[in-house]
Symmetry: C2
Subunit: 345 residues, 2 copies
């Protein structure tokens, strides 16, 4: 019948307006039976690593219209990407002991019934936590946005905002592997240092120390920008538009600077889109898993094994630290990919 | 040696800030010898029709950085698109009597030495003035933006701003020929009436009478918008972003509402680009002449001969009326394609 055990979980306490705080979440303990319900295609999994991602901010607010991801529900467990081990399964393709990553709950054990994003881990020789990042959704996001939306050519000029984050650090390294010049912006000198000295960016600046973002971009890109990997929106996007070259591409992955605002900042330089023939294209990584994830995983595993990709994680130990880890993301406290280590294998 | 004749011309008197007025231009008379200079590849042409186009506003202001079209020069003749008859030519492909359209001066006779945009008129059985519009740059702009940038599919929902203008009226008709639903905005009830009763739009509204552009769009597009043909920018673009459907395309042709502003209005709803996977793409028709103009001309001539395309012109008679015709464009005074008839053949 399966053992019944305590199950600590992180729940949303209330819908959030403005900047989320730790107090908007709480940790509660319930129980769970470690047995997949009969007659279903469910799995019981033990969560090992949970991923803190910027898109989760949107889910903390109630939306009138359905979005591409559903809103969280107050009183219920927060969900997101994670790495887990199957404890019991009635799913034909998974058995106890399998390692997988995909959508799970912020709790010790989850009952998984939604298999839309669920991948077996094919390379357990790589640190498992990497499947929340470089081999998971953020890595795949960098891949889709840079290669499929940005369509880079050797020698082009690439700019990445939020460049020290889980996605940005990889975009910069893809750009170097493609033979591009790449510069990035980040929110602390420590991060700028990482960009230049660890991730191989050609240039970087701390946007919080710049009086004039346009001047900072002119300094980094005297020849202009061909590809902008957009993570932040707002005034940075405005400054970038002025510095784009003809036929430039803006791969819009997110606009984190706007997520906590009730009224979004205006972007004033969109007129550049016409004479410069710019393409601004938004994308959601979910659309690409079926067609391209496997190709990406193979490529990235090779890069990692051969030392061509460097990856930095910011690990919070224990589920109790998960609320602070998530809210830190919106204050830029993390350095590298923010994740929560819930349990050892 | 060639006869010397008087040559009336429209000159820019000074660079413009804000809304251009007739007084920013003047009509002067000089003389011209009706003989192409020896040893050149020049042509002397008699101008028949001149085209008033929104992009000309940008050329009336001094820019520090070079744009895709050069600024006008105070004291010198205004240049633009026109239809003309060759009077004398040393160009191997043109002879006296040929009809052509392309870049010319706002004057009775022009010496043409720039052949970048110059096309022989292959269908003199069509009204020649149409080569300033439906068969010229505006028609080709509608074609490129709708088909090549918008990539329409049958049954899609299409919105066009400045829909009664030279470009907009054709976009709407292309949409109907493609089996789309199409609605447009314009700045007077007369224009709205034209859209519905002459150009076959399914819906139309007078944006000046709408308190809330978002509400007007919801009324016209309860299912949302797949393709927006963008001519105006500013608050209309902001409202459109809220109403775009997933995977929608915005073909950015121009942003006339912003051309006379020293400070551009902010666009606040760009965050929609990511979850809705929108593509906003600017284009300049000049890039497409070599690859696609001939195909377009053949298609459009067939449409016109078989009565599938309706076209409305607003004709100012005489070069003296040219400054008022051009400034009227920025106040929305014209109904249909604004042009100036300079001379009969």
């Amino acid at each position: 019948m399966g053992e019944v055990v305590g199950n600590k979980k992180v729940v949303l306490k209330n819908y959030v307006t403005g900047i989320p705080t730790e107090g908007d979440m709480g940790v509660v303990t319930e129980t769970v039976r470690l047995k997949a319900p009969e007659g279903s295609t469910a799995m019981i999994v033990k969560n090992l690593y949970l991923s803190c991602d910027p898109y989760m901010r949107s889910r903390m607010t109630k939306h009138d219209e359905p979005s591409y991801v559903p809103d969280f529900v107050p009183g219920q467990v927060i969900t997101g990407y994670g790495v887990f081990k199957v404890v019991d399964s009635t799913h034909p393709e998974f058995k106890a002991g399998d390692l997988a990553w995909g959508t799970t709950g912020w709790e010790e054990y989850s009952v998984i019934t939604n298999f839309e994003v669920l991948f077996k881990i094919n390379h357990p020789e790589i640190p498992l936590s990497y499947y929340t990042g470089v081999l998971g959704m953020p890595g795949f996001t960098a891949y889709v946005g840079f290669y499929e939306i940005g369509k880079p050519k050797e020698g082009e000029q690439v700019f990445v905002s939020a460049a020290a984050g889980a996605v940005g650090q990889l975009v910069g390294q893809f750009a170097k592997l493609t033979g591009c010049y790449v510069a990035g912006s980040a929110g602390s000198d420590e991060k700028v240092n990482l960009l230049k000295n660890k991730f191989g960016f050609d240039g970087a600046f701390n946007y919080k120390k710049e009086q004039d973002l346009n001047a900072a971009l002119i300094r980094c890109f005297p020849r202009g920008i061909d590809i902008y990997f957009e993570n932040v929106g707002g005034p940075m996007l405005d400054a970038v538009l002025l510095n784009m070259r003809n036929h430039g591409r803006i791969a819009a992955c997110g606009m984190i600077s706007q997520y906590n605002r009730e009224k979004h900042e205006g972007v004033h330089n969109l007129f550049c889109v016409v004479p410069k023939r710019l393409r601004i294209e938004g994308f959601v990584v979910f659309d690409y898993y079926a067609s391209s994830y496997q190709k990406f995983e193979d490529m990235m595993v090779q890069h990692l094994k051969e030392g061509r990709i460097t990856y930095v994680e910011d690990v919070a130990e224990g589920l109790e630290r998960a609320p602070a880890a998530l809210t830190g993301l919106f204050e830029g406290r993390n350095v590298g990919k923010q994740l929560v280590a819930v349990a050892k294998e």
